[in-house]
Amino acid sequence: MTQRVGVVRFPGTNCEFDTVDALNALGGHAEVLWHSDTDLGGVDAVVIPGGFAHGDYLRCGAIAQFSPIMKVITTFARDGGPVLGICNGFQVLTEAGILPGVLQKNAGLKFLCCMQQIEFMSTSNIVGTGASTGDLLNIPINHFEGNYVCSERTLKQLEEQNRIVFRYMDNPNGSMGNIAGISNEDGNVVGMMPHPERATSTMLGSDDGTPLLRSLLNAGPVAAS
């Protein structure tokens, strides 16, 4: 079982404590890692949470790839370590080249902060034991740049390799293929725009995020293919 989770804080990150609290409430031992750290302190998994890393200047997540911690996260991910990017964390992972594609401005040019119904599409990844394929989950989104774009070739590859993890039921932002989240080839890296840490209590409207985070806590390293 993954016990220790490092939650990365860049200047401008703002969801790190929600994420730490949500993971700890499930029995994990989550701690905040600073972006200039040059090692991961022996954590078993990494979460890059939401926010505005480095002010999101130039493009969302673009500057974050130069933070020292990204070098060690890239190696950690390549070696099969579980990495979950949520919202801005997803943007950071695409800009760092760890996941394909890019998140651009929402098609309606509106900042969207609302509950979304998403379909769970793939179990072959680190959040894969969190639901069954075809399950509909209610998890909120909170973003201006969540419109997933990639080349047709990449899209085809994502579909063929079963790497689309979540699709929006009612596409809020113009994402290609209604994509709300994807994984890398080995399934040990997942990026998603919805915030599972904000869906961990029925008092807050949904606890559909809980099993996804629990899945992350149970995820061991994946042997790189």
Partner: protein
Amino acid sequence: MRFEAKIEVSPRAGIANPEGATIERALPALGFDTARDVRVGKIIRLEIEADSADAATAIVEDMCGRFLSNPVIEDTTVEILNP
């Protein structure tokens, strides 16, 4: 030598450009109902030390490919403004 570079970052053809589309929908409200294919990008200006204009262009193009633009959705053109 010191060169001033102007970099135009524009949305790649075929990629939806929500800002451009919104402006295009708004223009007819002012009577500009013949504008088409509005695209919004950005311009970056910088100064750079290099041996020649060609060398400066090569350095800036390298910057564009690796950082200043995201080649998945953006194209860039580099212009050296002097001498």
